[in-house]
Symmetry: D3
Subunit: 284 residues, 6 copies
Amino acid sequence: MKKMGTVPIFHLRKRLFEALKEDIGSGDITSEALISERSVSSAIFLAKENGILCGLPFALEALRLLDPNLQWEIQRFDGASLEPGVTIARITGSTRAILSGERVALNILCRLSGIATLTAKFVKLVQGTGAKILDTRKTTPLWRDLEKYAVRTGGGTNHRMGLYDMVLVKDNHIRACGGIREALRKARERVRPGVKVEIEVTTSLQFQEALKEQADWIMLDNMPVEEMSRCAKAGKGKAILEASGGINEKNIRAVAETGVDFVSLGALTHSVKALDISLELEEN
Amino acid sequence: MKKMGTVPIFHLRKRLFEALKEDIGSGDITSEALISERSVSSAIFLAKENGILCGLPFALEALRLLDPNLQWEIQRFDGASLEPGVTIARITGSTRAILSGERVALNILCRLSGIATLTAKFVKLVQGTGAKILDTRKTTPLWRDLEKYAVRTGGGTNHRMGLYDMVLVKDNHIRACGGIREALRKARERVRPGVKVEIEVTTSLQFQEALKEQADWIMLDNMPVEEMSRCAKAGKGKAILEASGGINEKNIRAVAETGVDFVSLGALTHSVKALDISLELEEN
Amino acid sequence: MKKMGTVPIFHLRKRLFEALKEDIGSGDITSEALISERSVSSAIFLAKENGILCGLPFALEALRLLDPNLQWEIQRFDGASLEPGVTIARITGSTRAILSGERVALNILCRLSGIATLTAKFVKLVQGTGAKILDTRKTTPLWRDLEKYAVRTGGGTNHRMGLYDMVLVKDNHIRACGGIREALRKARERVRPGVKVEIEVTTSLQFQEALKEQADWIMLDNMPVEEMSRCAKAGKGKAILEASGGINEKNIRAVAETGVDFVSLGALTHSVKALDISLELEEN
Amino acid sequence: MKKMGTVPIFHLRKRLFEALKEDIGSGDITSEALISERSVSSAIFLAKENGILCGLPFALEALRLLDPNLQWEIQRFDGASLEPGVTIARITGSTRAILSGERVALNILCRLSGIATLTAKFVKLVQGTGAKILDTRKTTPLWRDLEKYAVRTGGGTNHRMGLYDMVLVKDNHIRACGGIREALRKARERVRPGVKVEIEVTTSLQFQEALKEQADWIMLDNMPVEEMSRCAKAGKGKAILEASGGINEKNIRAVAETGVDFVSLGALTHSVKALDISLELEEN
Amino acid sequence: MKKMGTVPIFHLRKRLFEALKEDIGSGDITSEALISERSVSSAIFLAKENGILCGLPFALEALRLLDPNLQWEIQRFDGASLEPGVTIARITGSTRAILSGERVALNILCRLSGIATLTAKFVKLVQGTGAKILDTRKTTPLWRDLEKYAVRTGGGTNHRMGLYDMVLVKDNHIRACGGIREALRKARERVRPGVKVEIEVTTSLQFQEALKEQADWIMLDNMPVEEMSRCAKAGKGKAILEASGGINEKNIRAVAETGVDFVSLGALTHSVKALDISLELEEN
Amino acid sequence: MKKMGTVPIFHLRKRLFEALKEDIGSGDITSEALISERSVSSAIFLAKENGILCGLPFALEALRLLDPNLQWEIQRFDGASLEPGVTIARITGSTRAILSGERVALNILCRLSGIATLTAKFVKLVQGTGAKILDTRKTTPLWRDLEKYAVRTGGGTNHRMGLYDMVLVKDNHIRACGGIREALRKARERVRPGVKVEIEVTTSLQFQEALKEQADWIMLDNMPVEEMSRCAKAGKGKAILEASGGINEKNIRAVAETGVDFVSLGALTHSVKALDISLELEEN
């Protein structure tokens, strides 16, 4: 999937503002005590390890909320590869604003870069198989749009954005409905026509039934690789096929080679190592 | 540090509501299509791996925002050890509400339990040394209070809550002020008397100066273990001493044995593996 | 489309609260001056003309925000046919609350019932043709979810909920992209796989191109009925077909008989006559 | 009533922002996929039928929230007469912003212009009688200020803005108070002196009592035209007189000729046909 | 003016919540450390000096936001006279909630009681003259409704609630309009008919002009007492007359005896001594 | 304490906006009727009595929210001494904006200047004693940050900002804990190490116990001056000492001379006389 541009700042300003308030509260007493209100500084965002950059526009916007006149020169854009020592961007503005906003800016930047970096790693592992890396709804509450953007930045593909834009019939729904057939028929009948319908299956038998009921998309959940291969062969061209459950660095290649269209991983967003990036004030 | 109770729900309701809106958006179309509005179910929160439970009251509150009549029996409280197969709590309420709120509830519960589990691991590693595990401000924006609670739940101690409740003079501040002495004097002079003053030092020389200027608290940042030991000896009883920077599972014991009061780790909150917990609908 | 239940109150409370504040402002000075704070009354929602009821739960919730102890007996549920003199529901509660909330409750109820009534009229006009009535995004800002619910209540089908859950390539997009083929290919390439792609065409030629590029859904915009018939024949089973543009009570039957799957009408929500319903206090 | 200028943007920004969020949600996936982030276009607001323009500043502001650098040239101002083919304004800015905000801008513009057009029609029908057209509180929740502005734009006069700025004693209040005399006395005694007091009457007898108790304003509700004439004669110069209830295009002239000061119509805002205006992207 | 009941809690909850957040921030660390989450206590609101009680329902509501199960017995209602040692109310609930909410509850209660007490003092000073005490818009931002309620509770009368519910033409407006006559005519012509028009005059000459132009209400601003007397005689029955400017405990009686209807004082709300009321935990 | 700069506008904008909405509501009908939308004026903030200026940046910001192009020249900055007739600042901008925002701007400015003026008076009374003036949490809900800034502007020192940044063990807490020793030990054990611990004592005995338990800060509440002197002597250098309770203009010098570090006064913020400042439109 080609990148679709960043999340519009329009959607973000309120959350960034709340994030700054969370940290600054009744005032950044250190900066207010030590730094003159009129002091102006330059600073750089500096990469400290290898990875993929993601979230720079949001980090800059957080700082700009504190200093509307902040200036910047960007040297690496979202999606760029980083290595230790690379200068990502240079900013100039109110020293107090920079120091007061630094932590919020970095907390966002390091986490999103961590997600992009992890995604890129998995993308590389499946390269050449035709399968694509898919994310899940296992994101940090209130930051899903940014985290799904980080997945795209790392070369991954987004699954549905939320409960509102696609049907995904899971185990629990199937049981409550009396079976795959009933669930898929109800879904078709009641859901608006613009919506695709996915269903989760765990066996070949269930897979056949889902295929017969013309599910748009079938998730093969925690299925052995061989069974997955058979399903992939049977379903190719009839439905979108997604492998899911228990997938990791070791087994992902084998899963991707079964012929599924997508491999989905919750870990892309729920178990992330922040990428090490720092903000360094420059000597005047 | 003894646990101080959970974060009052009073502080949380708005964020939980926004988190549910983020996921549900214009409607959980799967549940609305497949599940009767009147259907009632029981479900359990089920542990899938070893760890420390944290965040259950918030997960339950998220579900209760969707079904104000939700009932629950709690079998494991926050702070309890989990192992695969342990039932954490059983809930009964609107099936739609449970299925629509499940992901938000789990996203919170799994992350906080991951933080508590990671903290407990480090707490164990320093056991007997007298040093305590301290968190940082490297938390997820908008969720700091919960993440700091998770650190407490895992046996860690909280550093300052934000920029507003303690002075921490860092490298950049020192430079902008013309030195440690100047920074500490300005801080004393201008900050309200209720506030403690911490300063970051990287060398013994700086440490001596900070001690002389009667800093309440000194952070030894990225200091070699031997140098740290000497500082710890010199500073014992005169200031709170905190080791910080580049600390990991391998070196933490050695650091803790230097005699510092605290060892702080950003990774406790910025690089967390979610603990595997699921919500399982029970057969009627 | 079977009704999917009402919009959950969860999504509505804030807007109802703001709507009450808009009307009540610094206080309902008439009721505060004339009615005792302790006075309790019964009142009925009374139909004054023929139509389809819609919005009762929201009207009741608005009143309940002013009197949390409000009691009600519902005699007609959303979707019911009304005629002059029919009692819809009887409420009992604080007289002040009832009188202060009456107008907001009725403004919602009368408009939504107007939409349901208008939709039902069009649904009846196409009965037996196989075509379904579809709404648009021409809704009242901030009330789209309720208005789309009213369309469902009247027997109509919802098109996409917003710009986020389906692609609809319109005239302007086509031009900006360099043609139908380019637009559809870009959409496929860049949009997440869970999303259906619709395109607007105005001629048979464009229709052929859209069909060839495998659009999921094609809108025949302002097309003469005969041309529409030919397209419908050619496209049946290959794409969802929607007639749109300049459709009214007089020509809708002919349009529906062309074999299209859907007929969409902006007027369902942008040009609505409120249904006449009143709230009558009962003598004690 | 002379026009008092538009509703200050100050009051509107939050609602426009929420309206955009309602439509755009997690992203305008069509524009993001098809239109370059850097593309700039011109577009015109184009009238498609006869009517009175209203709401242009709000439509432009909605678009400016998405593109702060949007430029415009206005060719018709609010209150101007429109006919098919008239260019209302030309805008230039981010193509994505224009396409993403188009629907919200038009939904506001077409409804407000519809209200102004309908009001102007009634104003014309009573021309020369001395009576003025008055609106009611039967407005769309959350948009009353704009809708009352649209009534002014069409040449109408505003009744009270809400429950807070005038007393209007209605049928239900009278009953609960034990009569017109009691209600008016209580109102005088308890309401702050800056507030005018209106009362609704349905018979000449009630009218006499209201006049005797020195109501500032008397509403003649659903009264036969001859009885209204007698009341108007009796009350001229003693109180403001308002005709209300069951008034339409056919009977309004006769009502206006009775000598009342105002004729009020709920339909001005509750049963409106949107005026047909479109936004057309111009070829580059 | 008879009391019109308290400000509905409906209008207040959000502000009380924000006020609690302002004080509690990231947590009431004292109570959390010292008081068990399960501890329950009784406490009393205790008067420490003479005055008029005002604001009890809001103080209780603030506490109830922290403990929804809080119980209370009210012994003195708003408007009651207090003397040192009087128990106002006894509450029982979560000890933590009571201690965490105490300061916000008292800050509201002591200020509103201070306003009511001050108002009552001025009301007494003009007793028997026929003049009434009027407040102004010189209130604490965000708390005007409560402060105006406190004025009513002390026996005063409210002037307009804000800029929206009455016209008050002041010095600056007159100058900008070219004179009293022009200002009053423009106001009549452009303002909706439900609104009363007041004008500020400083000389007899201006007063005559305002009277001639039929102002509903005339404010005699900073006028010598004798001149005020002459105006009052001339204007009686033709307009509402209000004395304003530089009025204090010493001169108010003389001003009131001129025959004006109202005497307005900014000090009622802008220069208030808080009434001393405390919250005392009872021994278990 | 040296001034730490003003409260960042970042923290204020939302409250200023709400304050303007409170006053302007559905519109400033006087200015809209009388003043042309295009009229531009100059105006000055004019001191009418002696005092200390405080709050000018917030007053200007309130006006700027109504006219983003407002210009100003500041002639007196916060902290300056005022006397009658002094021009504080000259502003130029939309006449409507200036008149609509005047009252909110002045309500803030006059109150904050009143606080600064009162504080300065007490600061002067203790001059030379070494004691400093301290504020309390008895502030106006929702405006604490500004009021504490006004105390600083008047030369006072801030106590804790809220319940979150310092422990203050009061009478009620001690009782609930079983004594001073228990309370202080629990506090030490459970509160994060960055926080100082204050305790309130009323007798020498309690004072000795608090000292022994190494409280950081001890409040001598309502203690006779001689006893206070003895405590001050005993505690000097071991803990911060604060005198509190029943302190006024008459006794403050004696209290300050006991040798305590701080004297705290609730009256600084709870019983304030607004400073008389007006806004005067200049002749064009």
